[in-house]
């Protein structure tokens, strides 16, 4: 087995090996029926021996788009939600023979802007973005080069773009309604700062209270906890109040875990409910809002692939907004020994 040292062999080199032009090699590799069977055979053998691999960069350049690359820009890959979302995108991309170029912004809009620009420069066919902020102007600009963009998990602000969202509002509302139905009247809300999702969940929380004509003590609403430690401190504060809440709804699992620790520490019987299902939530006897993070990625990718297929066609469909459902699971009511 003869193997070339140095960089990758070209069609010309494969051709030279067989005494044939690069063009014939190209045809043979494409199963063009006009190539003589014997020639074809010799070319394929030579290609294998040389370890030839088609240069997709050159091919893509010659052919123009599509390049077969999808960009995915997430805010925080360490968060299981986004890694599952990424997996959903990857699965669908792979099913279409496409590759995934993944970037992490760490919630930095400037970084997001640079990354998106870079992806367009690399001529990806489309981009899925979990936008880090409300300044999304660069995501509109991206469309100017006809690179379609789909937003995931957060809606477009000031731009037109497809998006795939979770039913943050409905999930939070339903979970809160469950707390009210269980007889709770003094509810607290814990959540992380700033994000759109968190605001939607709070809106759902308030909507449930409104629908039940229950009043809300605003001093029990705390939205500044990024991690479980902060949430534990704040929850402990609430529980130490003269009139502590009898139940707490948390906008995400980190806040719920912190709240759980606080409740355990104070020894109260405060009921807990939260957005995000997670391993061991049943052991903690929480009520959770569950959903399929992979479906968010898969649906975004499906939308994007559709857009890509329609590029150039006259009638571009209007921006779509897909909202994926959530389900409430009450692990407290469910059978199971106390911890």
């Amino acid at each position: 087995m003869t193997v070339s040292r140095g960089s990758a062999p070209t069609m010309r080199q494969v051709g030279a090996q067989v005494g044939v032009s690069a063009m014939t090699v190209s045809r043979a590799l494409h199963d063009d029926p006009r190539v003589a069977p014997r020639t074809r055979e010799r070319i394929l053998t030579a290609a294998r021996e040389l370890g030839y691999r088609r240069n997709e960069l050159a091919r893509s350049l010659r052919l123009g788009r599509p390049s077969g690359m999808l960009g995915l820009v997430v805010t925080n890959l360490a968060n299981p939600f986004y890694s599952q979302l990424a997996l959903g995108v990857e699965n669908l991309a792979a099913a279409h023979g496409m590759r995934l170029v993944l970037s992490n912004t760490a919630d930095d809009v400037d970084r997001e802007r640079r990354i998106v620009h870079d992806l367009v420069s690399w001529r990806v066919d489309g981009i899925i973005v979990v936008p880090a902020g409300v300044d999304q102007s660069h995501l509109d600009l991206a469309r100017l080069n006809d690179v379609p963009v789909v937003l995931a998990a957060r809606p477009p602000v000031g731009i037109e773009a497809d998006c795939v969202l979770l039913d943050d509002f409905g999930g939070a509302r339903d979970a809160t309604s469950d707390l009210l139905a269980a007889g709770h009247r003094r509810l607290a809300f814990l959540g992380p700062p700033a994000a759109w999702t968190s605001a939607e969940r709070m809106r759902g929380f308030r909507a449930a209270l409104g629908a039940a004509n229950a009043s809300l003590d605003e001093s029990l609403v705390r939205c500044d906890q990024r991690d479980a430690e902060a949430a534990e401190r704040v929850a402990a504060e609430l529980l130490a109040m003269p009139a502590p809440p009898t139940a707490i709804f948390c906008a995400n699992s980190r806040n719920a875990i912190g709240a759980f620790r606080a409740v355990r520490g104070m020894g109260t019987d405060t009921e807990l409910s939260c957005f995000d299902d997670f391993e061991l939530a049943d052991v903690l006897r929480l009520t959770v809002v569950t959903y399929d993070p992979r479906a968010v990625g898969a649906e975004a990718a499906r939308l994007l692939v559709g857009r890509i297929a329609r590029i150039g066609h006259s009638a571009q469909a209007r921006p779509q907004r897909t909202v994926l459902p959530t389900t409430v699971i009450n692990y407290r009511q469910r059978a199971g020994a106390r911890l």
Copy 2:
């Protein structure tokens, strides 16, 4: 602001707008000092107005490598270990101005083979692989086109390649030693099937027993549980034996969570220890082996970038093997109220 409809503008088009050749545009965009300041200014303005973006595909083709793309091939992105590893790679790649092309194999070696081939065809500068199996021949072939490969989390088998591993052996040994030091003499082992890491952890488990001259009842060794449900069933079996184990070491967190449920269900006081730290392990009062999954990715990327920089240089360094440390944390001994 004039904006072109259709696909991306080229240097020629930008030049035409200003009455200048593509070459001058290229120079202006590279801050070549030979371009007249006024020309430069006009070119930059035109480029901005047209929404010009350099075609990196074409640039990369002309320049030859490097393309600035790193391939990362993992087995299961849904597993937090691999998504954190991916984050480590992404961080380091981004720090070097490189992009990450991510693929998931779902532990399918055929898929891995295709993906690696594809990545080489796209002329990525290097590839980090979490190999799905012991057939790694395709990872050796990849080197023939001078594309360096670094293995992560699992060692090379039958090929020469750099790799970055966790100290699976040492971590399991140390955690097991802790159980022995606490007086336990009847230990069980639970783990997932097949993977190299699991075998290493078992080796560590056995080594600790050997060092303490403790005997091992082979009927307490179970390595066929992929998820928490299976682990729970098997653990319940063990605990129902006439002479149940007094402590269980689990090769991963899924087995530990299953074992925890079984212990809780049976009401025994069995001590639990496992490889993998995870949220709430303290609440469950486990002993865990902790480590930094991001560091595995970052270190693999560092090695890879080093290899890439040395391509073409005569003296290629021999394959390196980096082993990252683990730490045992005993949440049972630590302060904290009982659950």
